[in-house]
Amino acid sequence: MEADQTTNILVCGIGGQGIMTAAEVLSEAAIATGHDVKKTEVAGMAQRGGVVTSHVRFGEKVFSPVVAAGTADFILGFEAAEGMRWIPHLRPGAAALVNTLRLEPPVVSIGLFDYPEDPVMAIREAGVTCYPFDAGEAARELGNLKLVNSIMLGAVADQLPFGAEVLKKCLLDRFKVRKPKLVDINDQAFEKGRALIRAAAKVC
C-alpha cells in the first residue's frame, strides 16, 4: 500500500479535553482491524489549556507519524475555534466534524483577541464541508461533561474504513476493566454522537 493510501485523522482541541485518549481509541480500533498504526501529539506545555492536536495514521504500513497540511481525511474538532484553526490540514474535499462548544481562553477574556463569531460559518466560507454538533450539550443531557469524548468518537465512527462497532468495542473495553459502571452511559454517549452527526449531515 502506498503512503497516500493511509487514513489520516487529525484530532484537535484543548489540553484536558481527552484528545489523546480519543486518538488512542481510534488507534486501537485500527490495530484490531489489522492495520499498521502511528499516533502522535505534542504534549508537555499543551496540557496547560493550550492547543492540542493528535495525529492518527493507519494503513498497511505507516512510516511518518505526522499528518501533513493538506492530507487529513477528516478532522475531529473537540472545540469550535480549534476545529477552525486546523482546516488547512484537510485534503481537498475532506470534512471537518466539529463540536460547537466554545471555550474562551484568558487571552480572549482579557480582551487581547476576539473569539470568532461563527466558527462553523468561517469553516464553510473557507470551502470546507463542516458537520457541526453540540457534544457539550449532549453530554450535559446525559449527565456528565466527561462524556464529550465518547460522543466525539461516536461522531467519527461511521466515517472510518472499519465498522463503528469495532471502535465502540475498543472504547467500552477501556471501561469494562476499570470502571464497569460507566460502560452503559458511554455506550449511550457513543450512539448519541452517531445520531448527532447523522442529523448534522442531513442538514448540510
Binding site: 505526522v66 497540511a69 480582551g111 476576539d114 473557507a126
Partner: protein, 621 residues
C-alpha cells in the same frame, strides 16, 4: 489491584506503545535493577512506566546529575542500571558523564536522552548526539517504538561489551509517538557485586590520566562495532541520482517521501559507520543527510573526502522537525524537478491559545500580586510558573535554565547600575526546581550578601510535567509516603535569617501583597514561602464553586487580571471617566463546572459581586 498491561503483557504480545513506554518495558526485560530520572518533557513517561515494574528499584531523583550518579553507583555494584532525562538534563548530568566514560561500567549502564526537537516545551533545542563524540560513547537512535524497545534491550549488552555507558538518543517523535511493539520477557542478570578497583573507580588525576589510552583503544573497538552493527542498514533503491543518510524519526519521513532512493538508515550513529557510508557513496551521485537538529553527520561526511556532493542543512530546514512535507520541495529542486505541494486550504485567522495556568492554580495569586508590585525586577525559572511571563500577568523578566533564577537574581543585584538602585529584585522558583538546582544559588545569595527576595512556590509537585513527586511532596515515585523536606528549615540552614523567612497563603491576596512589598524593601536575603498544593494532584481539595451576582458586577474587570481560565466575559463596554479618560469594561461570569472555589477572585472584586459558597468564619475578637 489491577496490573498495568505494560507489566502483565506476555512475551509475543503486540501492544500500542509510545517510545517512552517501549523503553520502559525493555529496561525491565533487560534485567535492569536500578532506574532513576528527573521528569522532563519529552522523557517523563519513561520512568513513570519503569516504576510500574515492582521487581526493580526506581526513583525520581532531585536532578539529572544525581539520577546518573545513582545509576553509576548501581552499575559499579554490578547491576544493570538506567537513567533517563531530557536534552537539557544531560547538561546538568554531564559532569558525572564525562568522568564515568573514563572509568567504564560494571553492570550495563544506559542513558536515555530525549531531545525536544521542535521546542514542544523547552528553553532550547539541542542535539544530544554531540555527547557521543565528546564523551567517547556509542549513540543509538531508534526511529519508532519497536526500535526503541529493541535498542534499549541491546544497549545494556553493548554497554557491557564495550565497557562504556551507552546513550539512547530519542526525540519528541519517538517519545510521544505510539506504534505497535511486540514485547518479550525479562531476563534476570546475576549481580556481579562491587569489585574494589581504585585505578578505575577513584578518578584522581593520576588514575584518570592512565585511563585515557584505554579509552582511545576503546574508541577503535567502538568504531569497529559501528561498522559491523546490524543497526546500520543500507536500503536499496532504484533511483540512484540521490541517496539519503538518516537516523531517528527522520528516517520515517525520508522513507515515506522518497521510497525509491537508496537510504542508509543509521541506528548506531556514533561513531559513523564508514563502510556503509562509502558503499552508499559509490552508487549514488549525491547524498542528502536528513538529520534533526545540527548538521553533525553532514560535517563529518564532508570531512571524509567522498567523491559525491553532500547536501543537508543547505537545503533542508535548519531547525525544528523534519517531515515528508518540508523535505519534498528541496529534494525535488535538487533533482531538477518541480514539486507540486498538496493543495491546502488557506488558514483562517484564529486567536492564539497559549498554555496558561490552571483554574485555581496557587500560582495565580502570586503572579497577580507580582504584576501589581511596582519597581521590581523578577527573575523567573523553569516550571509552570514560567507562564507568569504571559498574559495577563507579564510578571517575569528573565528565564534561562533550571534553578538559574537564584544566581540571576544575585547577578541583577550585584550588577545593577545607579538607574536601578531603588528596584526590588525578586527571584521566583518552585519547590522541585529549588531542590533540583536552586539551593546552591540561594546559598550563594546568602554568602555573598545579595539583596534579593526569593519566592519559593511550594505546590508539592513537579507541576509542569504532570505532578510528579519530589522530596517536597511527601511521596515517592510509587505514591508511597516519604519524608517531606521542611523548606523553612532548609532555607534557614542555607543562611537566611528566620525573621526573613515568611510563610504566606497564596490564596490570600492582601497578605501576599503586603508581604512582598515589605520583603523587597529589606536589605538582606529573604524568602517568601507559599504552600498550597497543585490543583492537579490528590492533595488539592476543591471547594464549592463561586458565582458572579449579575446585578452587582460593574464591569471593572479586575478579576480578569488574576488570569483564571474559569472567569469568562459575558459583555464588553466602555466608560468615560470624569477626567475624560476612556476605560474598557467587561462583565463576567464564572464557569461553575470548572471553578473550584479557591476564593482568589473575590479579593479582586471591589463590589463583592463574586460570592463564595464556603461558610463565612466569624472574625476573631
Amino acid at each position: 489491584m489491577l496490573t498495568h498491561p505494560l507489566v502483565s503483557a506476555e512475551a509475543g504480545t503486540k501492544m500500542l506503545l509510545s517510545g517512552n513506554e517501549a523503553v520502559a518495558r525493555a529496561v525491565w526485560e533487560a534485567g535492569c535493577r536500578v532506574a532513576a530520572a528527573y521528569p522532563g518533557t519529552p522523557s517523563t513517561e519513561i520512568l513513570e512506566n519503569v516504576c510500574l515494574f515492582k521487581d526493580m528499584y526506581s526513583e525520581w531523583s532531585v536532578n539529572e546529575k544525581v539520577s546518573l550518579e545513582v545509576a553509576i553507583g548501581a552499575s559499579m555494584a554490578g547491576s544493570r542500571a538506567f537513567c533517563a532525562m531530557k536534552h537539557v538534563g544531560l547538561n546538568v548530568a554531564s559532569d558525572a558523564l564525562m568522568t564515568q566514560t573514563l572509568a567504564g561500567v560494571g553492570g550495563g549502564l544506559v542513558i536515555a536522552v530525549a531531545d525536544d526537537v521542535g521546542f514542544s516545551s523547552s528553553q532550547n533545542e539541542q542535539d544530544s548526539r554531540f555527547w557521543g563524540r565528546f564523551a567517547h560513547l556509542p549513540i543509538l537512535e531508534p526511529a519508532d517504538s519497536q526500535e526503541a524497545f529493541e535498542m534499549t534491550r541491546l544497549a545494556f549488552g553493548l554497554s557491557e561489551d564495550l565497557d562504556a555507558p551507552v546513550i539512547l538518543r530519542m526525540t519528541t517523535r519517538i517519545c510521544h509517538v505510539k506504534a505497535m511493539v511486540t514485547v518479550g520477557e525479562r531476563h534476570e542478570k546475576a549481580v556481579a557485586g562491587f569489585k574494589k578497583d581504585p585505578d578505575r573507580w577513584v578518578m584522581t588525576p593520576a588514575a584518570a590520566q592512565k585511563r585515557v589510552p584505554w579509552m582511545l583503544q576503546r574508541d577503535r573497538r567502538l568504531k569497529d562495532m559501528a561498522n559491523r552493527s546490524g543497526l546500520n542498514r543500507l536500503e536499496q533503491g532504484a533511483d540512484k541520482r540521490l541517496g539519503f543518510i538518516t537516523s531517528g524519526p527522520a528516517y520515517m519521513h525520508v522513507k515515506e517521501a522518497f521510497p525509491n532512493h537508496p537510504i542508509l538508515k543509521m541506528g548506531f550513529s556514533h561513531p559513523l559507520p564508514e563502510r556503509e557510508i562509502r558503499a552508499l557513496a559509490e552508487q549514488v551521485e549525491k547524498i542528502v543527510v536528513a538529520e534533526e537538529v545540527e548538521p553533525l553527520v553532514e560535517g563529518e561526511l564532508k570531512a571524509m573526502g567522498l567523491d559525491v556532493v553532500i547536501h543537508g542543512k543547505d537545503i533542508l530546514p535548519e531547525f525544528g522537525e523534519l517531515s515528508p512535507a518540508n523535505m519534498r520541495g528541496p529534494v525535488a529542486k535538487l533533482l531538477g524537478e518541480t514539486y507540486k505541494p498538496p493543495v491546502t486550504i488557506p488558514p483562517v485567522k484564529v486567536f492564539p491559545r497559549p498554555p496558561t495556568m490552571c483554574t485555581a492554580c496557587p500560582h495565580l495569586g502570586v503572579f497577580y500580586t507580582l504584576s501589581r508590585v511596582r519597581n521590581i525586577y523578577i527573575s523567573g525559572d523553569i516550571g509552570c510558573y514560567t507562564l507568569g511571563a504571559g498574559h495577563p500577568w507579564e510578571a517575569l523578566d528573565t528565564c534561562i535554565s533550571m534553578g538559574a533564577s537564584m544566581g540571576i537574581a544575585l547577578g541583577l543585584d550585584k550588577g545593577r547600575g545607579a538607574v536601578d538602585e531603588k528596584k526590588g529584585i525578586v527571584g521566583v522558583i518552585g519547590d522541585s526546581t529549588f531542590l533540583h538546582m536552586g539551593m546552591q544559588g540561594l546559598l550563594d545569595i546568602v554568602y555573598n550578601k545579595g539583596n534579593v527576595t526569593i519566592m519559593l512556590l511550594d505546590n508539592r509537585a513537579v507541576g509542569m510535567t504532570g505532578g510528579q513527586e519530589n522530596p517536597g511532596s511527601g511521596r515517592d515515585i510509587h505514591g508511597e509516603e516519604a519524608p517531606r523536606v521542611d523548606f523553612a528549615k532548609l532555607v534557614e540552614a542555607l543562611g537566611v535569617r528566620p525573621e526573613r523567612i515568611r510563610r504566606v497563603d497564596p490564596y490570600v491576596l492582601p497578605d501576599l501583597f503586603k508581604t512582598v512589598r515589605h520583603e523587597v524593601k529589606q536589605n538582606e536575603p529573604s524568602v517568601i514561602l507559599t504552600d498550597q498544593p497543585c490543583v492537579l494532584i490528590d492533595d488539592y481539595d476543591a471547594l464549592k464553586p463561586l458565582y458572579v451576582e449579575e446585578d452587582k458586577c460593574t464591569g471593572c474587570a479586575n478579576c480578569l487580571d488574576v488570569g483564571c481560565p474559569a472567569i469568562l466575559v459575558t459583555k464588553r463596554g466602555k466608560e468615560v471617566k470624569n477626567n475624560g479618560k476612556e476605560v474598557d469594561l467587561a462583565w463576567v461570569k464564572i464557569e461553575t463546572s470548572a471553578c473550584t472555589g479557591c476564593n482568589l477572585c473575590p479579593d479582586t472584586c471591589a463590589h463583592d459581586a463574586i460570592l463564595p459558597f464556603t461558610p463565612v468564619v466569624a472574625e476573631m475578637p
